[in-house]
Protein backbone atom coordinates (compact mmCIF):
# COMPACT_ATOMS: atom_id res chain seq x y z
CA UNK A 1 0.00 0.00 0.00
CA UNK A 2 1.49 3.38 -0.90
CA UNK A 3 1.10 6.33 1.40
CA UNK A 4 -0.71 9.21 -0.30
CA UNK A 5 -1.09 11.64 2.55
CA UNK A 6 1.04 12.32 5.61
CA UNK A 7 2.13 15.07 7.92
CA UNK A 8 4.71 17.37 6.32
CA UNK A 9 8.14 16.92 7.86
CA UNK A 10 8.40 20.60 8.73
CA UNK A 11 5.21 20.42 10.77
CA UNK A 12 5.87 19.12 14.26
CA UNK A 13 3.61 16.44 15.67
CA UNK A 14 1.97 18.75 18.21
CA UNK A 15 -1.74 19.46 18.62
CA UNK A 16 -2.55 22.93 17.32
CA UNK A 17 -4.13 25.40 19.76
CA UNK A 18 -6.38 27.08 17.18
CA UNK A 19 -10.17 27.05 17.39
CA UNK A 20 -12.05 24.52 15.26
CA UNK A 21 -12.45 25.83 11.72
CA UNK A 22 -9.70 28.45 12.08
CA UNK A 23 -7.70 29.23 8.97
CA UNK A 24 -4.37 29.43 10.79
CA UNK A 25 -4.17 25.62 11.06
CA UNK A 26 -4.62 25.15 7.32
CA UNK A 27 -2.14 27.89 6.45
CA UNK A 28 0.47 26.42 8.81
CA UNK A 29 0.18 23.11 7.04
CA UNK A 30 0.51 24.71 3.63
CA UNK A 31 3.65 26.55 4.67
CA UNK A 32 5.15 23.31 6.02
CA UNK A 33 4.34 21.48 2.79
CA UNK A 34 5.96 24.19 0.70
CA UNK A 35 9.04 24.28 2.92
CA UNK A 36 9.38 20.52 2.47
CA UNK A 37 8.83 20.69 -1.25
CA UNK A 38 11.38 23.46 -1.76
CA UNK A 39 13.75 21.74 0.70
CA UNK A 40 14.41 24.94 2.60
CA UNK A 41 13.72 23.76 6.16
CA UNK A 42 17.38 24.05 7.09
CA UNK A 43 17.63 27.60 5.77
CA UNK A 44 14.30 28.94 6.95
CA UNK A 45 13.77 31.49 9.72
CA UNK A 46 10.24 32.27 10.86
CA UNK A 47 9.21 35.56 12.43
CA UNK A 48 5.86 34.92 14.10
CA UNK A 49 3.55 37.74 15.23
CA UNK A 50 1.67 38.92 18.26
CA UNK A 51 -1.77 37.49 17.60
CA UNK A 52 -3.36 34.08 17.58
CA UNK A 53 -0.41 32.70 15.59
CA UNK A 54 2.21 33.78 18.11
CA UNK A 55 2.85 30.12 18.87
CA UNK A 56 3.52 29.24 15.22
CA UNK A 57 7.05 28.33 16.32
CA UNK A 58 5.61 25.45 18.32
CA UNK A 59 4.37 23.88 15.11
CA UNK A 60 6.88 24.69 12.39
CA UNK A 61 10.20 22.91 12.72
CA UNK A 62 12.37 25.87 11.74
CA UNK A 63 14.48 28.52 13.48
CA UNK A 64 12.29 31.35 14.76
CA UNK A 65 12.30 34.68 16.54
CA UNK A 66 9.22 36.30 17.98
CA UNK A 67 8.58 39.90 17.01
CA UNK A 68 6.82 42.62 18.96
CA UNK A 69 3.30 43.37 17.74
CA UNK A 70 3.59 44.66 14.18
CA UNK A 71 7.36 44.68 13.91
CA UNK A 72 7.90 41.37 12.12
CA UNK A 73 8.97 42.96 8.83
CA UNK A 74 11.63 45.03 10.58
CA UNK A 75 12.98 42.03 12.51
CA UNK A 76 12.94 40.01 9.28
CA UNK A 77 14.83 42.82 7.55
CA UNK A 78 17.62 42.69 10.12
CA UNK A 79 17.80 38.90 9.83
CA UNK A 80 17.74 38.73 6.06
CA UNK A 81 20.33 41.46 5.57
CA UNK A 82 22.75 39.64 7.86
CA UNK A 83 21.84 36.16 6.62
CA UNK A 84 21.15 36.58 2.91
CA UNK A 85 21.36 32.81 2.38
CA UNK A 86 18.50 32.11 4.78
CA UNK A 87 14.87 32.08 3.75
CA UNK A 88 13.24 34.58 6.08
CA UNK A 89 9.48 34.79 6.38
CA UNK A 90 7.01 36.52 8.64
CA UNK A 91 3.56 35.30 9.57
CA UNK A 92 1.23 38.14 10.52
CA UNK A 93 -2.41 38.86 11.20
CA UNK A 94 -4.29 41.89 9.89
CA UNK A 95 -4.03 43.73 13.20
CA UNK A 96 -0.33 43.01 13.29
CA UNK A 97 0.48 43.92 9.71
CA UNK A 98 -2.17 46.46 8.72
CA UNK A 99 -2.58 48.41 11.98
CA UNK A 100 0.35 48.73 14.34
CA UNK A 101 2.89 47.40 11.84
CA UNK A 102 1.74 49.09 8.68
CA UNK A 103 4.73 51.41 8.47
CA UNK A 104 7.19 48.53 8.84
CA UNK A 105 5.25 46.53 6.23
CA UNK A 106 5.08 49.31 3.65
CA UNK A 107 8.72 50.19 4.05
CA UNK A 108 9.95 46.61 3.90
CA UNK A 109 7.98 46.24 0.67
CA UNK A 110 9.28 49.55 -0.62
CA UNK A 111 12.88 48.56 0.06
CA UNK A 112 12.00 45.30 -1.67
CA UNK A 113 13.43 43.34 1.22
CA UNK A 114 13.98 39.79 0.06
CA UNK A 115 11.60 38.37 2.61
CA UNK A 116 8.27 36.59 2.36
CA UNK A 117 5.24 37.77 4.28
CA UNK A 118 2.34 35.45 4.98
CA UNK A 119 -0.46 37.83 5.86
CA UNK A 120 -3.54 36.27 7.39
CA UNK A 121 -6.62 38.44 6.98
CA UNK A 122 -9.54 37.38 9.16
CA UNK A 123 -11.03 40.87 9.39
CA UNK A 124 -10.81 40.87 13.17
CA UNK A 125 -8.41 40.84 16.12
CA UNK A 126 -8.59 37.21 17.16
CA UNK A 127 -6.23 36.93 20.07
CA UNK A 128 -7.48 39.90 22.06
CA UNK A 129 -11.09 38.86 21.77
CA UNK A 130 -12.66 40.06 18.54
CA UNK A 131 -12.09 43.79 18.32
CA UNK A 132 -12.18 45.73 15.08
CA UNK A 133 -9.21 45.25 12.77
CA UNK A 134 -8.18 47.65 9.99
CA UNK A 135 -9.69 45.02 7.68
CA UNK A 136 -13.05 44.75 9.45
CA UNK A 137 -15.68 45.17 6.76
CA UNK A 138 -18.19 47.98 6.58
CA UNK A 139 -21.13 47.06 8.75
CA UNK A 140 -19.29 44.14 10.38
CA UNK A 141 -19.97 43.77 14.09
CA UNK A 142 -17.02 43.34 16.42
CA UNK A 143 -16.63 44.00 20.14
CA UNK A 144 -15.47 47.56 19.42
CA UNK A 145 -17.89 48.14 16.56
CA UNK A 146 -20.95 46.72 18.32
CA UNK A 147 -23.31 48.40 15.83
CA UNK A 148 -21.27 47.45 12.81
CA UNK A 149 -18.23 49.22 11.38
CA UNK A 150 -19.32 52.72 10.56
CA UNK A 151 -17.20 54.47 7.95
CA UNK A 152 -17.72 57.92 9.48
CA UNK A 153 -16.39 56.69 12.76
CA UNK A 154 -13.88 54.04 11.86
CA UNK A 155 -12.93 54.51 8.21
CA UNK A 156 -12.70 51.87 5.51
CA UNK A 157 -11.17 48.40 5.45
CA UNK A 158 -7.54 48.59 4.38
CA UNK A 159 -6.72 46.73 1.18
CA UNK A 160 -3.13 45.71 1.63
CA UNK A 161 -2.50 44.07 -1.74
CA UNK A 162 -4.00 47.01 -3.62
CA UNK A 163 -2.07 49.46 -1.50
CA UNK A 164 1.29 47.71 -1.75
CA UNK A 165 0.86 47.23 -5.48
CA UNK A 166 1.57 50.97 -5.82
CA UNK A 167 5.14 50.32 -4.68
CA UNK A 168 7.79 49.38 -7.23
CA UNK A 169 9.52 47.34 -4.54
CA UNK A 170 6.61 44.98 -3.92
CA UNK A 171 7.64 42.17 -6.24
CA UNK A 172 4.99 39.54 -5.74
CA UNK A 173 1.56 40.12 -4.22
CA UNK A 174 -1.36 37.73 -4.25
CA UNK A 175 -4.59 37.47 -2.32
CA UNK A 176 -6.03 34.00 -1.81
CA UNK A 177 -8.40 32.22 0.53
CA UNK A 178 -8.57 28.91 2.39
CA UNK A 179 -12.35 28.44 2.51
CA UNK A 180 -12.45 25.36 0.24
CA UNK A 181 -10.17 22.76 -1.32
CA UNK A 182 -9.74 24.62 -4.60
CA UNK A 183 -8.72 27.81 -2.86
CA UNK A 184 -6.51 25.96 -0.42
CA UNK A 185 -4.56 24.57 -3.37
CA UNK A 186 -4.40 28.03 -4.91
CA UNK A 187 -3.03 29.37 -1.61
CA UNK A 188 -0.42 26.64 -1.52
CA UNK A 189 0.69 27.63 -5.00
CA UNK A 190 0.87 31.29 -4.00
CA UNK A 191 2.93 30.52 -0.90
CA UNK A 192 5.30 28.43 -2.99
CA UNK A 193 5.59 31.20 -5.56
CA UNK A 194 6.29 33.74 -2.80
CA UNK A 195 9.17 31.65 -1.45
CA UNK A 196 10.48 31.10 -4.97
CA UNK A 197 10.57 34.85 -5.51
CA UNK A 198 12.70 35.16 -2.39
CA UNK A 199 14.92 32.26 -3.41
CA UNK A 200 15.47 33.90 -6.79
CA UNK A 201 16.50 37.10 -5.00
CA UNK A 202 13.75 39.00 -6.76
CA UNK A 203 12.50 41.04 -3.82
CA UNK A 204 9.54 41.39 -1.50
CA UNK A 205 6.76 38.81 -1.68
CA UNK A 206 3.49 38.76 0.20
CA UNK A 207 0.53 36.40 0.20
CA UNK A 208 -2.64 37.71 1.79
CA UNK A 209 -4.80 34.82 2.87
CA UNK A 210 -8.47 35.35 3.68
CA UNK A 211 -9.04 33.17 6.67
CA UNK A 212 -12.10 32.28 8.74
CA UNK A 213 -12.28 33.16 12.43
CA UNK A 214 -15.44 31.30 13.48
CA UNK A 215 -14.97 32.24 17.12
CA UNK A 216 -15.01 35.97 16.69
CA UNK A 217 -17.37 36.01 13.74
CA UNK A 218 -19.79 34.08 15.98
CA UNK A 219 -20.43 31.55 13.24
CA UNK A 220 -20.02 27.80 13.10
CA UNK A 221 -16.94 26.62 11.24
CA UNK A 222 -19.10 25.66 8.23
CA UNK A 223 -20.87 29.04 8.23
CA UNK A 224 -17.56 30.84 8.60
CA UNK A 225 -16.13 29.00 5.61
CA UNK A 226 -19.17 30.08 3.55
CA UNK A 227 -18.90 33.65 4.82
CA UNK A 228 -15.55 34.10 3.05
CA UNK A 229 -16.75 33.56 -0.54
CA UNK A 230 -20.16 35.12 0.13
CA UNK A 231 -19.04 38.26 1.96
CA UNK A 232 -15.33 38.79 2.36
CA UNK A 233 -14.34 38.49 -1.28
CA UNK A 234 -16.68 41.39 -2.11
CA UNK A 235 -14.29 43.67 -0.24
CA UNK A 236 -11.11 41.66 -0.71
CA UNK A 237 -10.81 40.68 -4.36
CA UNK A 238 -8.85 37.49 -4.91
CA UNK A 239 -6.03 37.36 -7.41
CA UNK A 240 -2.47 38.21 -8.29
CA UNK A 241 -1.70 41.89 -7.80
CA UNK A 242 1.94 41.90 -8.68
CA UNK A 243 4.31 39.58 -10.49
CA UNK A 244 8.09 39.93 -10.66
CA UNK A 245 8.94 42.52 -13.25
CA UNK A 246 5.66 44.46 -12.93
CA UNK A 247 6.99 47.23 -10.78
CA UNK A 248 10.23 47.91 -12.57
CA UNK A 249 10.76 51.62 -12.90
CA UNK A 250 13.03 53.17 -15.43
CA UNK A 251 14.16 56.73 -15.57
Amino acid sequence: MSKVFSRPESLLDTPLHYCPGCGHSIIHRLIAEVIDELQIRERAILVPPAGCAVLAYNYLDVDAIEAAHGRASAVATGLKRLRPDCVVFTYQGDGDLAAIGIAESIHAANRSEKITVIYVNNAVYGMTGGQMAPTTMIGQKTTTTPFGRDVDQAGYPILICEMLSQLPGATYLERTSVHDAKHILRTRKAIKRAFEVQLAGQGFSLVEVLSPCPTNWHLTPAEAHRHVPEQMVKTFRLGVFREPGDGRVSC
Binding site: R41, E42, R43, A44, I45, V47, V54, Y57, D61, V62, D63, A64, I65, E66, A67, A68, R71, A74, V75, A76, T77, G78, L79, K80, R81, L82, R83, D85, C86, V87, A103, E104, I106, H107, R111
Partner: protein
Amino acid sequence: MSERVLFSGNHAIAEAAILSGCTAYFGYPITPQNALPEYMAANLRRRNNGVFIQAESELAAINMVIGASAAGARVMTSSSSPGISLKQEGISFLAGMELPAVIVNMNRGGPGLGNIAPAQSDYFQSTRGGGHGDYRVIVLAPGSVQELIDATRRAFELADRYRTPVLILGDGMIGQLMEPVVLPEPIDPAQIPERSYTLSGASGRPKRLIKSLILDTAKMEEHNWKLFRKYEMISAEIADAETEFVEGAKLLVVAFGTAARIAKGAVKRARAEGMDVGLIRPLTLWPFPKKALAKASRSCSNFCVFEMNTGQMVEDVRLSVQEGTNVVFSGRPGGVVPTPIELYRAIARIHHRVKKGAAV
Protein backbone atom coordinates in the same frame (compact mmCIF):
# COMPACT_ATOMS: atom_id res chain seq x y z
CA MET B 1 47.67 52.24 16.16
CA SER B 2 49.03 54.64 18.66
CA GLU B 3 49.15 57.91 16.74
CA ARG B 4 46.68 60.53 17.77
CA VAL B 5 43.98 61.58 15.33
CA LEU B 6 41.33 64.28 15.58
CA PHE B 7 37.76 63.03 15.89
CA SER B 8 34.36 64.42 16.79
CA GLY B 9 32.41 62.43 19.36
CA ASN B 10 29.75 61.15 16.96
CA HIS B 11 32.30 60.08 14.36
CA ALA B 12 34.48 58.54 17.05
CA ILE B 13 31.72 56.21 18.19
CA ALA B 14 31.04 55.13 14.63
CA GLU B 15 34.73 54.53 13.92
CA ALA B 16 35.16 52.63 17.20
CA ALA B 17 32.14 50.48 16.37
CA ILE B 18 33.58 49.55 12.97
CA LEU B 19 36.92 48.79 14.60
CA SER B 20 35.08 46.64 17.15
CA GLY B 21 33.62 44.32 14.54
CA CYS B 22 30.20 45.95 14.23
CA THR B 23 28.64 44.81 10.95
CA ALA B 24 25.17 46.27 11.20
CA TYR B 25 23.76 49.70 11.93
CA PHE B 26 20.10 50.76 11.81
CA GLY B 27 18.92 54.24 12.69
CA TYR B 28 16.65 57.17 12.03
CA PRO B 29 17.92 60.75 11.79
CA ILE B 30 17.63 63.02 14.81
CA THR B 31 19.79 65.93 15.90
CA PRO B 32 22.33 66.02 17.56
CA GLN B 33 23.67 62.62 16.51
CA ASN B 34 23.25 62.60 12.73
CA ALA B 35 26.97 62.57 12.08
CA LEU B 36 27.09 59.06 13.55
CA PRO B 37 24.75 57.32 11.06
CA GLU B 38 26.25 59.39 8.26
CA TYR B 39 29.68 58.03 9.11
CA MET B 40 28.26 54.51 9.25
CA ALA B 41 26.60 54.94 5.86
CA ALA B 42 29.90 56.01 4.34
CA ASN B 43 32.10 53.37 5.97
CA LEU B 44 30.32 50.29 7.31
CA ARG B 45 29.69 48.46 4.07
CA ARG B 46 32.98 49.42 2.48
CA ARG B 47 35.14 48.46 5.43
CA ASN B 48 33.37 45.69 7.35
CA ASN B 49 31.12 44.42 4.56
CA GLY B 50 28.40 45.57 6.90
CA VAL B 51 24.76 46.54 6.59
CA PHE B 52 23.50 50.10 6.96
CA ILE B 53 19.82 50.93 6.77
CA GLN B 54 18.19 54.28 7.37
CA ALA B 55 14.98 52.89 8.82
CA GLU B 56 11.53 54.46 8.51
CA SER B 57 11.36 55.09 12.26
CA GLU B 58 13.15 54.37 15.50
CA LEU B 59 10.69 51.54 16.09
CA ALA B 60 11.71 49.91 12.85
CA ALA B 61 15.39 50.60 13.54
CA ILE B 62 15.48 48.88 16.92
CA ASN B 63 13.54 45.92 15.54
CA MET B 64 16.03 45.59 12.70
CA VAL B 65 18.66 45.59 15.45
CA ILE B 66 16.82 42.67 17.04
CA GLY B 67 16.84 40.74 13.77
CA ALA B 68 20.53 41.44 13.14
CA SER B 69 21.45 40.50 16.69
CA ALA B 70 19.53 37.22 16.36
CA ALA B 71 21.44 36.66 13.12
CA GLY B 72 24.64 36.82 15.16
CA ALA B 73 26.06 40.23 14.29
CA ARG B 74 27.56 42.93 16.46
CA VAL B 75 24.93 45.59 15.88
CA MET B 76 24.44 49.20 16.86
CA THR B 77 21.81 51.90 16.71
CA SER B 78 21.93 55.50 17.84
CA SER B 79 19.47 58.27 18.48
CA SER B 80 18.61 61.14 20.76
CA SER B 81 15.96 61.44 23.46
CA PRO B 82 12.60 61.35 21.58
CA GLY B 83 13.98 58.60 19.37
CA ILE B 84 15.19 56.60 22.35
CA SER B 85 11.67 56.78 23.79
CA LEU B 86 10.45 55.00 20.66
CA LYS B 87 13.22 52.45 20.91
CA GLN B 88 12.16 51.44 24.41
CA GLU B 89 9.77 48.80 23.11
CA GLY B 90 12.61 47.08 21.31
CA ILE B 91 15.05 47.52 24.20
CA SER B 92 12.61 45.72 26.49
CA PHE B 93 12.39 42.90 23.93
CA LEU B 94 16.20 42.73 23.62
CA ALA B 95 16.46 42.44 27.40
CA GLY B 96 13.69 39.83 27.59
CA MET B 97 15.13 37.77 24.75
CA GLU B 98 18.68 38.24 26.09
CA LEU B 99 20.06 39.59 22.85
CA PRO B 100 23.12 41.86 22.77
CA ALA B 101 23.06 45.28 21.09
CA VAL B 102 24.71 48.67 21.51
CA ILE B 103 22.49 51.73 21.71
CA VAL B 104 23.75 55.30 21.76
CA ASN B 105 21.70 58.14 23.21
CA MET B 106 23.00 61.65 22.58
CA ASN B 107 20.67 63.13 25.16
CA ARG B 108 18.96 66.44 24.26
CA GLY B 109 16.63 68.73 26.18
CA GLY B 110 13.15 67.34 26.94
CA PRO B 111 10.41 66.37 27.71
CA GLY B 112 8.57 66.12 24.42
CA LEU B 113 10.28 67.52 21.39
CA GLY B 114 12.26 69.77 23.73
CA ASN B 115 15.35 71.19 22.10
CA ILE B 116 18.57 69.97 20.58
CA ALA B 117 20.88 71.34 23.26
CA PRO B 118 22.93 69.01 25.49
CA ALA B 119 21.10 67.66 28.54
CA GLN B 120 21.22 64.78 30.99
CA SER B 121 17.49 64.54 31.49
CA ASP B 122 17.23 60.94 30.27
CA TYR B 123 19.02 59.59 33.35
CA PHE B 124 15.89 57.98 34.81
CA GLN B 125 14.84 56.54 31.46
CA SER B 126 18.32 55.12 30.90
CA THR B 127 18.92 53.61 34.32
CA ARG B 128 15.46 52.37 35.31
CA GLY B 129 14.90 50.02 32.42
CA GLY B 130 13.07 52.55 30.30
CA GLY B 131 10.62 50.18 28.70
CA HIS B 132 8.13 47.81 30.29
CA GLY B 133 9.08 44.91 32.50
CA ASP B 134 11.64 43.91 35.09
CA TYR B 135 14.94 44.58 33.39
CA ARG B 136 18.01 46.76 33.44
CA VAL B 137 20.30 48.07 30.77
CA ILE B 138 24.02 48.59 31.25
CA VAL B 139 24.62 52.35 30.92
CA LEU B 140 28.07 53.76 30.23
CA ALA B 141 28.70 57.48 30.76
CA PRO B 142 31.84 58.60 28.93
CA GLY B 143 33.11 62.14 29.38
CA SER B 144 35.54 62.69 26.50
CA VAL B 145 35.91 61.66 22.88
CA GLN B 146 38.56 59.12 23.87
CA GLU B 147 36.19 57.73 26.46
CA LEU B 148 33.42 57.47 23.85
CA ILE B 149 35.76 55.29 21.84
CA ASP B 150 36.72 53.14 24.81
CA ALA B 151 33.09 52.90 25.89
CA THR B 152 32.04 51.75 22.42
CA ARG B 153 34.59 48.93 22.43
CA ARG B 154 33.57 48.01 25.96
CA ALA B 155 29.85 48.22 25.16
CA PHE B 156 30.15 45.56 22.43
CA GLU B 157 32.15 43.31 24.74
CA LEU B 158 29.75 43.71 27.66
CA ALA B 159 26.71 43.21 25.40
CA ASP B 160 28.13 39.92 24.15
CA ARG B 161 29.39 38.78 27.55
CA TYR B 162 26.09 39.32 29.33
CA ARG B 163 23.73 38.95 26.34
CA THR B 164 22.08 42.24 27.07
CA PRO B 165 21.58 45.68 25.50
CA VAL B 166 24.18 48.27 26.48
CA LEU B 167 23.48 51.99 26.34
CA ILE B 168 26.10 54.67 25.81
CA LEU B 169 24.72 57.88 27.28
CA GLY B 170 26.21 61.04 25.87
CA ASP B 171 24.75 64.38 24.93
CA GLY B 172 24.82 66.94 22.16
CA MET B 173 27.98 68.50 23.52
CA ILE B 174 30.15 65.41 23.74
CA GLY B 175 28.87 64.21 20.37
CA GLN B 176 30.07 67.32 18.62
CA LEU B 177 33.24 67.99 20.56
CA MET B 178 36.49 67.40 18.66
CA GLU B 179 39.49 65.96 20.47
CA PRO B 180 42.66 64.06 19.61
CA VAL B 181 42.22 60.36 20.28
CA VAL B 182 43.98 57.04 19.92
CA LEU B 183 41.94 54.43 18.09
CA PRO B 184 41.77 50.80 19.23
CA GLU B 185 43.14 47.84 17.28
CA PRO B 186 40.65 46.63 14.67
CA ILE B 187 38.70 43.45 15.35
CA ASP B 188 37.91 41.32 12.33
CA PRO B 189 34.18 40.45 12.52
CA ALA B 190 35.01 36.95 11.26
CA GLN B 191 37.14 36.40 14.38
CA ILE B 192 34.30 37.12 16.81
CA PRO B 193 33.20 33.76 18.26
CA GLU B 194 29.81 32.60 17.02
CA ARG B 195 26.98 32.84 19.52
CA SER B 196 25.37 29.62 20.62
CA TYR B 197 21.83 30.88 20.02
CA THR B 198 22.24 32.52 16.62
CA LEU B 199 19.56 31.87 14.03
CA SER B 200 21.00 30.59 10.78
CA GLY B 201 18.56 27.92 9.69
CA ALA B 202 18.26 24.57 11.48
CA SER B 203 20.88 22.77 9.43
CA GLY B 204 22.34 19.73 11.16
CA ARG B 205 21.03 20.85 14.55
CA PRO B 206 17.67 21.19 16.28
CA LYS B 207 15.74 24.36 15.53
CA ARG B 208 16.43 27.41 17.69
CA LEU B 209 13.87 29.76 19.10
CA ILE B 210 14.33 33.29 20.44
CA LYS B 211 11.30 34.66 22.24
CA SER B 212 10.05 36.64 25.18
CA LEU B 213 6.51 35.27 25.50
CA ILE B 214 6.34 33.02 28.55
CA LEU B 215 2.73 32.20 29.29
CA ASP B 216 3.43 29.84 32.18
CA THR B 217 3.55 32.06 35.29
CA ALA B 218 6.08 29.88 37.09
CA LYS B 219 8.40 29.95 34.08
CA MET B 220 7.91 33.68 33.64
CA GLU B 221 8.86 34.15 37.27
CA GLU B 222 11.92 31.94 36.87
CA HIS B 223 12.95 33.93 33.79
CA ASN B 224 12.66 37.15 35.77
CA TRP B 225 14.72 35.73 38.63
CA LYS B 226 17.30 34.56 36.11
CA LEU B 227 17.51 38.07 34.66
CA PHE B 228 17.69 39.46 38.19
CA ARG B 229 20.63 37.19 39.02
CA LYS B 230 22.35 38.29 35.86
CA TYR B 231 21.85 41.94 36.80
CA GLU B 232 23.23 41.19 40.28
CA MET B 233 26.30 39.67 38.67
CA ILE B 234 26.74 42.65 36.37
CA SER B 235 26.41 44.98 39.38
CA ALA B 236 29.13 43.11 41.22
CA GLU B 237 31.44 42.96 38.23
CA ILE B 238 31.35 46.23 36.36
CA ALA B 239 30.14 49.12 38.55
CA ASP B 240 32.81 51.74 38.08
CA ALA B 241 33.64 55.29 39.14
CA GLU B 242 36.60 57.61 38.86
CA THR B 243 37.58 59.51 41.98
CA GLU B 244 39.78 62.57 42.36
CA PHE B 245 40.97 64.30 45.55
CA VAL B 246 38.62 62.18 47.66
CA GLU B 247 41.03 61.67 50.53
CA GLY B 248 40.57 64.32 53.15
CA ALA B 249 37.83 66.06 51.18
CA LYS B 250 35.17 67.96 53.14
CA LEU B 251 32.91 68.21 50.14
CA LEU B 252 32.55 65.77 47.24
CA VAL B 253 31.04 66.72 43.90
CA VAL B 254 29.33 63.88 42.02
CA ALA B 255 28.79 64.29 38.28
CA PHE B 256 28.86 62.23 35.07
CA GLY B 257 29.56 62.81 31.39
CA THR B 258 29.64 66.41 30.22
CA ALA B 259 28.66 67.68 33.68
CA ALA B 260 31.72 65.91 35.09
CA ARG B 261 34.01 67.78 32.67
CA ILE B 262 32.57 71.04 33.93
CA ALA B 263 32.82 69.80 37.50
CA LYS B 264 36.49 68.94 37.04
CA GLY B 265 37.27 72.53 36.12
CA ALA B 266 35.28 73.87 39.06
CA VAL B 267 36.82 71.42 41.55
CA LYS B 268 40.36 72.19 40.35
CA ARG B 269 39.77 75.87 40.80
CA ALA B 270 38.28 75.37 44.25
CA ARG B 271 41.27 73.28 45.28
CA ALA B 272 43.66 75.87 43.92
CA GLU B 273 41.95 78.25 46.30
CA GLY B 274 42.54 75.90 49.20
CA MET B 275 39.12 74.27 49.52
CA ASP B 276 38.99 70.57 50.45
CA VAL B 277 36.89 69.49 47.52
CA GLY B 278 36.96 66.22 45.58
CA LEU B 279 35.12 64.64 42.66
CA ILE B 280 33.43 61.31 42.09
CA ARG B 281 32.54 60.53 38.51
CA PRO B 282 30.35 57.46 37.88
CA LEU B 283 31.53 55.75 34.69
CA THR B 284 28.67 53.27 34.77
CA LEU B 285 25.26 54.75 35.62
CA TRP B 286 23.71 51.33 35.77
CA PRO B 287 25.05 49.51 37.64
CA PHE B 288 25.51 52.60 39.80
CA PRO B 289 28.87 52.61 41.61
CA LYS B 290 27.22 52.42 45.03
CA LYS B 291 30.26 51.01 46.77
CA ALA B 292 32.55 53.84 45.69
CA LEU B 293 30.02 56.36 47.03
CA ALA B 294 29.40 54.46 50.24
CA LYS B 295 33.13 54.26 50.85
CA ALA B 296 33.65 57.95 50.20
CA SER B 297 30.78 58.83 52.53
CA ARG B 298 32.60 57.16 55.42
CA SER B 299 35.19 59.93 55.36
CA CYS B 300 33.22 62.80 53.88
CA SER B 301 29.70 63.71 54.90
CA ASN B 302 28.87 66.43 52.37
CA PHE B 303 28.01 65.71 48.76
CA CYS B 304 26.96 68.00 45.95
CA VAL B 305 25.40 66.25 42.94
CA PHE B 306 25.78 68.26 39.79
CA GLU B 307 23.68 67.31 36.76
CA MET B 308 22.22 68.88 33.64
CA ASN B 309 18.66 68.12 34.74
CA THR B 310 16.48 68.88 37.77
CA GLY B 311 18.00 66.17 39.93
CA GLN B 312 17.80 62.54 38.87
CA MET B 313 21.12 60.89 39.74
CA VAL B 314 20.88 62.64 43.10
CA GLU B 315 18.43 59.90 44.09
CA ASP B 316 20.97 57.16 43.41
CA VAL B 317 23.59 59.09 45.35
CA ARG B 318 21.24 59.42 48.35
CA LEU B 319 20.58 55.69 48.21
CA SER B 320 24.30 54.92 48.18
CA VAL B 321 25.82 57.13 50.88
CA GLN B 322 25.95 56.45 54.62
CA GLU B 323 23.12 57.63 56.79
CA GLY B 324 23.64 61.17 58.00
CA THR B 325 25.41 62.30 54.83
CA ASN B 326 24.26 65.65 53.48
CA VAL B 327 23.43 65.49 49.78
CA VAL B 328 22.52 68.66 47.95
CA PHE B 329 21.69 69.08 44.30
CA SER B 330 23.01 71.59 41.86
CA GLY B 331 22.13 71.69 38.21
CA ARG B 332 20.26 73.24 35.32
CA PRO B 333 17.82 71.57 32.94
CA GLY B 334 16.48 72.45 29.51
CA GLY B 335 19.70 72.10 27.58
CA VAL B 336 21.53 74.81 29.51
CA VAL B 337 25.19 73.93 29.96
CA PRO B 338 26.35 75.51 33.21
CA THR B 339 29.81 77.08 33.27
CA PRO B 340 32.61 75.93 35.59
CA ILE B 341 32.42 79.35 37.27
CA GLU B 342 28.77 78.81 38.12
CA LEU B 343 29.53 75.47 39.72
CA TYR B 344 32.65 76.86 41.38
CA ARG B 345 30.50 79.51 43.08
CA ALA B 346 28.05 76.87 44.29
CA ILE B 347 30.94 74.76 45.61
CA ALA B 348 32.49 77.76 47.36
CA ARG B 349 29.15 78.60 49.02
CA ILE B 350 28.57 75.05 50.26
CA HIS B 351 32.20 74.65 51.33
CA HIS B 352 32.00 77.84 53.35
CA ARG B 353 28.91 76.57 55.18
CA VAL B 354 30.53 73.17 55.77
CA LYS B 355 33.59 74.82 57.26
CA LYS B 356 31.41 76.88 59.59
CA GLY B 357 29.72 73.64 60.63
CA ALA B 358 26.33 74.76 59.32
CA ALA B 359 23.89 72.41 57.62
CA VAL B 360 24.45 72.40 53.85
